[in-house]
């Protein structure tokens, strides 16, 4: 192991491994740092299938998808440190990465470029207002997934799930298959936040009811969870009287959203986007700190691991280009603007001095649309139109922008034509 690298990738999940493979070049020194004892990140506990159709053209489980990436990384003999946590990153001439592990204690690695792929964390009870007692038995769906699939333990016998995020749906099926009874899933919104195939194959297959426009009114149980009371809400999220339903359960799993884990950004003062709760990046996935890239769920939360790989390959590619032709180009960054039909976009800015190839603008809609007609403008001029069908907030959308589409240096605006 060296003390100085060209590119250091923090995280060895799908994003980190995909970025490393793309950044690989036999003239460059690349290091991957992973806090777990194994490669693969969260894919290790996602033992269900449905991964890989885009990237590997076959349907894989999480561990299989991870293994394909791991095998490729091993082939290339990229340096790595497992069971090693990065504590913070600072930048002077180059990046200085402070890390710690059992073998060396605290140490510093220097690197010309850093790709941050630290994934995301799950919203827990404390992040939202779930009123009532404070017993044990309330945990995130991902925690229950880890206990079940990695440690081999069920967290309860009778389960209710708050939130229709994919992990919650997957766990509804997983716990049912392992002998637990899942009494229902409550979703605050009038639509599901999970993929349709998960609603069908995880809930409908096992007759697990999904209560849309419902949320928790109260959890009851002093030391152990005893029951969960849900209630219907109106369009203003106010409780509707006489719609309570009570479920006697010992477990409440929360699947109420994922937030990018950006702790390592704290020591670098970078521009952030309050909508994604992560770094603001340009079309090369570069943050406001030169040479620092972010991708995968650390940048914004993806529905499919294939999308993580596709995005992370770009980060790897551009980090490599940055190290190889490190020359100072003045920034000419302008924001991408959008209207209220869109919840967020990535990238948030476009650097007009760096445009040399097409790039994707990823976004999520704020609500369901059967048809979404997008108009992309620069100033008053329409540069592109695109029609998307069956758009739901749970599924990420993208629109590609080509260099020749751009006619001036004005901000790109993505607007929705009302149908």
């Amino acid at each position: 192991m060296k003390q100085s690298y060209d590119i250091t990738i923090i995280g060895a999940g799908a994003a980190g491994l995909s970025a490393a493979l793309e950044a690989y070049d036999d003239t460059l020194d690349i290091l991957i740092i992973e806090r777990e004892k194994n490669f693969g990140g969260i894919l290790n506990q996602c033992i269900h299938n449905g991964f890989g159709l885009h990237v590997f053209k076959e349907e894989l489980t999480g561990p299989e998808y991870a293994q394909k990436l791991i095998d490729l990384v091993m082939e290339k003999q990229i340096d790595y440190l497992l069971d090693t946590t990065v504590l913070n990153i600072s930048k002077d001439e180059v990046f200085s990465i402070k890390a710690t592990n059992i073998t060396s204690g605290e140490f510093i690695i220097e690197s010309k470029s850093v790709i941050l792929t630290t994934g995301c964390y799950e919203r827990a009870r404390g992040h939202v207002d779930i009123p009532g007692d404070r017993p044990k038995g309330i945990m995130t769906a991902g925690s229950a997934q880890r206990y079940l699939n990695i440690d081999g333990y069920l967290v309860g016998k009778k389960v209710f799930i708050l939130g229709s995020g994919d992990i919650g749906l997957i766990m509804a099926r997983r716990m049912t298959l392992e002998g637990a009874t899942v009494l229902g899933v409550a979703e605050l919104m009038p639509y599901s936040n999970g993929l349709t195939r998960n609603i069908v194959q995880c809930l409908n297959d096992f007759d697990i009811p999904l209560y849309l426009s419902h949320t928790i009114k109260e959890v009851v149980g002093k030391e152990k969870l005893e029951k969960v009371i849900i209630q219907q809400v109106d369009e203003n999220r106010q409780f509707i009287e006489n719609t309570e339903k009570t479920f006697e359960v010992d477990t409440l799993l929360l699947s109420i959203g994922l937030i990018p884990d950006v702790k390592l950004f704290e020591s670098l003062s970078i521009d952030t986007d309050p909508l994604t709760k992560s770094a603001l990046v340009n079309q090369k996935l570069e943050t406001s700190v030169k040479g620092l890239y972010a991708c995968g769920n650390a940048l914004h939360v993806h529905d499919l691991v294939d999308d993580v790989t596709i995005e992370s390959r770009k980060a790897g590619k551009y980090a490599k280009a940055y190290v190889i032709n490190q020359k100072d180009i003045d920034k000419k960054q302008v924001p991408i603007r959008f209207d209220h039909h869109i919840r967020y976009v990535v990238p948030q800015v476009v650097d007009y001095h760096l445009i040399d190839e097409p790039f994707d603008v990823l976004f999520r809609a704020t609500q369901k649309h059967d048809v979404l007609k997008l108009v992309i403008k620069q100033g008053d001029q329409v540069i592109r139109k695109k029609t998307l069908k069956y758009v739901v907030p749970a599924e990420m959308q993208k629109v590609q922008i080509k260099p020749e589409d751009l006619i001036n240096d004005l901000p790109i605006e993505i607007m929705v034509e009302e149908v």
Binding site: T85, T100, E106, Y121, E122, Y153, L154, V155, K157, E178
Partner: protein, 479 residues
């Protein structure tokens, strides 16, 4: 036979234990919970008030001013964390400005030092996030913030090192008094004989007292307070403790910076019938937001990571009730210790021992008031870290990535005279799980470390109390 038996190992009981451990006495502490500092001490604002607010002439007034000073000693001797925040009391209208003058007079009588009035403009130079519509500010520089769990732990650990015994899971069910001797029975079928009893049972002081005397002059009426916790990345949003003007309902909803960088918003104040009611409610949380509005702008609600509630042992006596029982000699009440209980706790211990019990013994020569400083690895210098890591390599492995807590610190939290084998206990001692992800990442790791260190299967590790295992049963073992 014990000389003194203290019922309750909250901050008050623990500091009394430490006070008694100075003398050549046999002392034991009985705690009904499986951990110390688990009820009132666990859930409060953590403020060491300057003593401005309690009415002059009350025990509360005297002991909070004295307690505030004694925290400086605890910092030196026990190495507790103490944040010197100072405080701003905010008057939001003309009436409150008038009341603030009375508050100032009262504080002067209580001998609160270094107070001054500030205009809102002056205050906002120091705290830009104060609401500009505030009319006047009273600055209380002596206000501080502690970490109450830690104060109780460290005091009791020091007491144990000086000879005190602690029994956990010891719920007192019966006390009899014969021949100048008390016999205490606990739910786990143990019997303790003691010459004196000190009742520091928090919200249960009245129930413990009636075991020996049905005619006590106080009754505990629990008052619940709900709070929001903001993540430590909020650090700097507010540096002072921010109070509204006090009302009949108490000190009101506060903004309180914490020793680890978090900020607390709260508490509410609500009479409850159930002494164990620590539930949170939408109403309560809404109430907090409504009241914070008057004092602050740009409140970073997006950094909320937790809600909690605590019950305060407000008594019908109104002041602290720290007296020997009228009828049963040798039985001491330390009751009605609600706010400013944390502040007064060290002074309560001294007052009880010196002025109520009137113990006049020489300090034993073996008494050591100093507790070795607890290792918080991330706060050490590189050299100190390297030395520790050489000896114990597990200091090199991070378990709680939000708070940078190492595996060795978790092991230390599990073992030792005041160790704990629960997830919550480890969280209280080592802060694993207190951060942004609220244990989502580290809980399963901590659970495995506890199982390994205590030689238990994973599904026997408790979250908090007995029978609160996180894991139900192994998968794949059939039905």
């Amino acid at each position: 036979m014990y000389d003194f038996t203290i019922i309750g190992a909250g901050i008050v009981g623990s500091l009394i234990a430490r006070e008694l451990s100075k003398y050549d006495l046999k002392v034991c502490v009985l705690e009904k919970e499986n951990d110390v500092a688990n009820v009132q001490t666990r859930a409060n604002s953590a403020i060491v008030h300057s003593g401005h607010d309690p009415k002059h002439g009350t025990l509360k007034a005297r002991l909070s001013v004295e307690g505030n000073k004694l925290y400086e000693d605890l910092e030196k001797e026990l190495h507790i964390s103490l944040l010197r925040t100072g405080a701003f009391v905010c008057a939001k209208d003309k009436d409150e400005v008038n009341d603030m003058k009375k508050l100032y007079e009262n504080a002067l009588l209580n001998q609160v030092k270094d107070m001054e009035f500030l205009s809102i403009e002056e205050a906002r130079v120091l705290e830009p996030n104060l609401n500009p519509s505030i009319k006047k500010v009273l600055s209380l520089p002596t206000t501080k913030v502690c970490f109450p769990w830690e104060v109780a732990f460290f005091a009791l650990e020091n007491a144990i090192k000086n000879g005190v015994e602690l029994h956990r899971n010891a719920l007192v069910t019966e006390i009899t008094h014969t021949n100048h001797m008390f016999t205490i029975k606990t739910k786990d079928n143990q019997t303790y004989q003691t010459k004196h009893v000190i009742n520091a049972a928090g919200v249960y002081t009245d129930e413990i007292a009636t075991l020996i005397n049905p005619n006590i002059p106080y009754q505990i009426k629990p008052r619940k307070g709900e709070y929001y916790v903001l993540d430590k990345s909020v650090k700097g949003y507010m540096e002072h403790v921010i109070y509204p003007m006090p009302s009949k309902k108490g000190k009101g909803v506060l903004i309180t910076p914490q020793v680890h960088g978090n900020i607390l918003l709260g508490p509410t104040s609500e009479w409850v019938s159930d002494k164990d009611d620590i539930s949170t409610s939408l109403k309560g949380l809404h109430y907090i937001k409504e009241h914070i509005k008057d004092m602050a702008i740009n409140v970073p609600y997006h950094l909320i990571i937790r809600q909690f509630a605590g019950v305060r042992s407000t008594s019908t006596y109104e002041d602290f009730y720290i007296q020997e029982d009228d009828a049963v000699k040798g039985f001491y009440h330390v009751a009605g210790v609600d706010s400013p209980g944390i502040t007064a706790a060290p002074a309560i211990a001294k007052y009880l021992v010196d002025e109520v019990i009137k113990l006049s013994l020489p300090v034993k020569h073996t008494f050591n008031p100093i507790l070795q400083k607890k290792i918080v690895y991330k706060d050490l210098s590189k050299q100190e870290k390297d030395e520790l890591h050489q000896d114990k390599p597990l200091y090199g492995r991070i378990i709680c990535k939000c708070e940078d807590i190492t595996e060795q610190e978790i092991i230390d939290a599990i073992h030792g005279p005041l160790g704990s084998d629960t997830i919550k206990g480890v969280k209280k001692r080592a802060r694993a799980g207190s951060g942004l992800c609220q244990g989502g990442y580290c809980e399963s790791l901590v659970l495995r470390i506890i199982a390994r260190e205590t030689h238990k299967p994973l599904h026997e590790v408790n979250y908090d109390q007995k029978e609160t295992q996180i894991l139900d049963k192994e998968s794949k073992v059939g039905s």
